[in-house]
């Protein structure tokens, strides 16, 4: 994607500036990181995707280590990049370590950031993630990679390859599946794995919530804005950019499901889903329910909804022969079949978002790469598998999901010209693989 020459409009929108001299901060020639060795100097950070989450992750990365310096940012929109830089600079804690050497706008901006830094934060809409992650690992950079890692199966396969390469190169690659970095949930999962609820029987997992980023009506689209730009700016509402609600949001549930299963894949999935509220030109569902079959007859029921005026709740009930682990609605706790609380988590909960970066930079500093978050690909794929099942109306096996040739992300992504997206999926007609 986007490796060819970008449209003229983007080239004009690209900009590179050097503030280093003015701010008196640019020491030339930071040493390149040699993999597998500890790092003692400043690390240059690059942010790809400057929305609220990207800015937050950059702040967490800067907080994680006093020698980290943010030097480059990329976004499709220079104003979004500008606001993020201004906000980060205004921080009382780390603002003085925001020393931008390059701010880039456009579809190929990521590449310019990657080439100029030591550590890359990937926080664009997920459709771009496989391309960005591959480029970062190819360029020998450590990475913080937000979830989910892709919106389609070809993207997941690309990420699996990138993860293998990161391991071969001894690069750190931390995934933004934040709950794995939460001490409270980690302790709860440990309880399950140590047999506290007996043999696992079933898992009911919900993410019933409100619409996250509804798309305005087509009439709100500025004159002359291309299809691609409109779709990226409203990325949540298109499958190729956002992956649909199950893949973008309920992927956190998918990750907990895989965690309980030691990240071993399911056998198959059957799902239903649809949309009740007009899509306004977008093509995502607003509800799903997917039933997964894992080995040993373990059944998992994952349901989500993004709707107003309905019952809401984000829960996990992990049911075993000797009890149920409940996540959500209070501290994690285990209830026995006769209704007694057998275990309940107590203590101070980490800031898991900060923890992700603390772990990443400690690993880089120590020369002990952290690159075993293989759930980045598998948990994302579990959600994509569920979407395939609901969209197609078919029973989908893990192998079919993994090898699906359904490609949602255009290759290359072209800024100008027409880019029509498929309409809402129709179970029984839409192809899954």
């Amino acid at each position: 994607m986007a490796t060819k020459k970008e449209p003229t409009k983007i080239e004009r929108r690209d900009f590179l500036k050097k503030t280093g001299t003015a701010a008196g901060v640019l020491a030339a020639g930071f040493p390149a990181i040699i993999s597998g060795q500890s790092v003692t100097n400043s690390l240059k950070l690059g942010l790809v995707g400057c929305g609220g989450r990207g800015g937050g992750a950059a702040g967490q990365a800067l907080t994680a280590d006093p020698n980290n310096v943010l030097t480059a940012v990329a976004d499709i929109d220079e104003q979004i990049a500008e606001s993020a830089v201004t906000r980060l600079k205004n921080s009382q804690k780390y603002g003085s370590r925001v020393k931008i050497e390059g701010a880039f706008a456009g579809l190929d901006a990521y590449d310019k950031v990657i080439s100029s830094v030591d550590v890359v934060i990937l926080a664009t809409p997920p459709g771009f993630r496989p391309q960005h992650l591959t480029a970062a690992i190819n360029a020998n950079k450590h990475v913080f990679c937000e979830k989910p890692c892709a919106t389609d199966s070809p993207g997941v396969r690309q990420v699996i390859e990138a993860q293998k390469l990161a391991q071969q190169k001894n690069l750190s690659l931390v995934a933004g599946f934040c709950w794995r970095y939460n001490n409270m949930i980690t302790e709860a999962v440990k309880q399950v794995k140590s047999g506290a609820i007996g043999r696992l029987v079933s898992h009911y997992s919900t993410y019933y919530t409100n619409p996250v980023k509804p798309i305005p009506p087509e009439s709100a689209r500025p004159a002359g804005m291309s299809d691609t730009e409109w779709q990226i700016r409203n990325w949540y509402n298109f499958t190729w950019t956002g992956g649909d609600s199950l893949v973008e949001q309920a992927v956190h549930n998918a990750d907990k499901i895989m965690w309980m299963m030691d990240d071993k894949p399911p056998i198959s999935a059957v799902g239903v889903g649809g949309r009740a509220v007009p899509a306004n030109g977008g093509n995502i569902f607003d509800h799903f329910e997917v039933n997964y079959l894992f080995p040993n007859g373990y059944r998992v029921f994952l349901a989500n909804r993004q709707s107003t005026g309905c019952y809401n709740g984000t829960f996990d009930y992990v049911m075993g022969t000797d009890g149920t682990l409940m996540l959500g609605g209070g501290p994690p706790r285990i209830e026995t079949p006769d209704g007694k609380i057998k275990w309940q988590w107590q203590g101070e909960e980490y800031d898991m978002y900060q923890r992700e970066h603390d772990v990443l930079f400690a690993a880089i500093r120590a020369g002990k790469p952290k690159n075993d978050d293989l759930n980045l690909a598998t948990s994302s794929l579990l959600a994509i598998m569920g979407r395939h099942a609901a969209y197609s109306g078919q029973q989908i096996t893990w192998e079919q999901a993994l090898n699906s040739q359904v490609r949602l992300v255009p290759d290359p992504v072209v800024w100008n010209g027409k880019h029509e997206v498929p309409g809402l999926a129709i179970p029984g007609k839409t192809q899954a693989f």
Partner: protein, 355 residues
């Protein structure tokens, strides 16, 4: 745009290297009291609507309001003008409840119940308030919460349950929205108004042994699957002498005031105006608190950690992701305030968190 970005970035880079430590408190206070002319124009328009409406609908006694174009209602209970001793002089009272001091207040009405999700979701989502079918230019232009990325009831229930996890800024903006919609002036209660209303005209409104009849708190709030407690539907316990339900327990309630030490001096209609984002005063205790913290004089100071689960920069000005025990209710003062006071009651000027 390109040129501007370069200039701004250079200037900001220089500023960032020179500035160390937090901005001085005076700067924050100045920001808190600054008036945005555009917002002031909005407030002036709403005030005119309120003035006109109050002539048409004079209020006396308790009354019920139906939110226009919906079936959602709320009840306003009258609170008479009067004096009371704010705080506590008891030996075991917490230091921030002292010194006890005399406060004189004008009359107001207070929502008999905590603001429910039924009400609050209409503010979050215009479609729930039927505003797409019934557009109202004054309401449509108001600032409203962004859609949350987390589920903000945390599965504890919507219909009839109290709204939770909102910032003080969000509660203020809700008051502005409801005022514009109904043509009746609402704001958060001051800390003094809240405590006065909670006491319901008595010195010790609820004997500890009777707390269970009046309040949801840690001991009686668990309900499956919320084994460590949860909020309950509003108005399911006894009201106080002034017809106010759940002042104690269920959810803590935002007040309009900055949290600050008391002074011994008597006060008339005190309002500790916001000068910094934290702390603001929160009252009443919640389903999550033990009985000692569920009292009319007890005070809680809001804290930045109430947004721990928010991974964004800036953190949301609308949601307290880690405050599943925090809600609010509104008052309708008998006397229409000046447009400046109305402006500041709806715009604390300190909505953005330090970072």
């Amino acid at each position: 745009m390109k040129g501007l970005f370069v200039l701004i970035s250079v200037a900001a880079a220089i500023a960032a290297t020179e500035r160390i430590g937090p901005p001085p408190p005076q700067a924050l206070a100045a920001q808190a009291t600054a008036i945005d002319p555009k917002e002031m124009a909005v407030v002036e328009k709403i005030r005119a609507r309120i003035e006109e409406q109050s002539k048409k609908t004079p209020r006396s006694g308790a009354y019920t309001v139906t939110v226009p174009n919906t079936v959602v209602t709320y009840t306003m209970a009258p609170v008479p003008a009067g004096e009371f001793t704010m705080g506590s002089s008891a030996a075991d009272a917490k230091p921030d409840e002292k010194p006890a001091h005399n406060v004189k207040l004008d009359a107001f009405w207070m929502q008999a119940h905590e603001v429910t999700w039924d009400l609050y979701l209409m503010f979050m989502f215009a479609d729930q308030a039927k505003e797409t079918e019934h557009p109202d230019a004054m309401v449509d232009g108001l600032s409203r919460p962004t859609a949350p990325f987390l589920e903000m009831s945390f599965g504890r229930g919507n219909n009839g349950f109290p709204a939770i996890s909102m910032t003080q800024h969000a509660a203020n903006k809700f008051a502005q929205w409801l005022s514009a919609k109904t043509g009746e002036y609402y704001r958060l209660p001051t800390e003094a108004e809240w405590e006065y209303a909670c006491r319901g005209g008595g010195k010790t409104p609820v004997a500890p042994a009777q707390l269970d009849e009046y309040a949801w708190f840690a001991k009686n709030s668990p309900a499956p699957p919320f084994t460590s407690g949860t909020y309950h539907k509003v108005g399911t316990k006894k009201p106080n002498a002034w017809g106010l339900y759940d002042m104690l327990g269920n959810v803590m309630e935002w007040t309009l005031d900055q949290y600050a030490p008391y002074s011994a001096a008597p006060a008339v209609n005190p309002w500790v105006r916001s000068a910094q984002p934290y702390p603001h005063a929160v009252r009443g205790g919640s389903w999550n608190d033990d009985e000692t913290r569920v009292a009319c004089s007890g005070r809680v100071a809001s804290d930045l950690s109430w947004k721990k689960l928010d991974p964004q920069l800036p953190k949301s000005i609308w949601y307290m992701t880690n405050a599943q025990w925090l809600g609010f209710r509104l008052v309708h003062p008998a006397k229409l305030p000046s447009v400046e006071d109305m402006y500041h009651a709806w715009n604390n000027g300190v909505a953005v968190d330090p970072y």
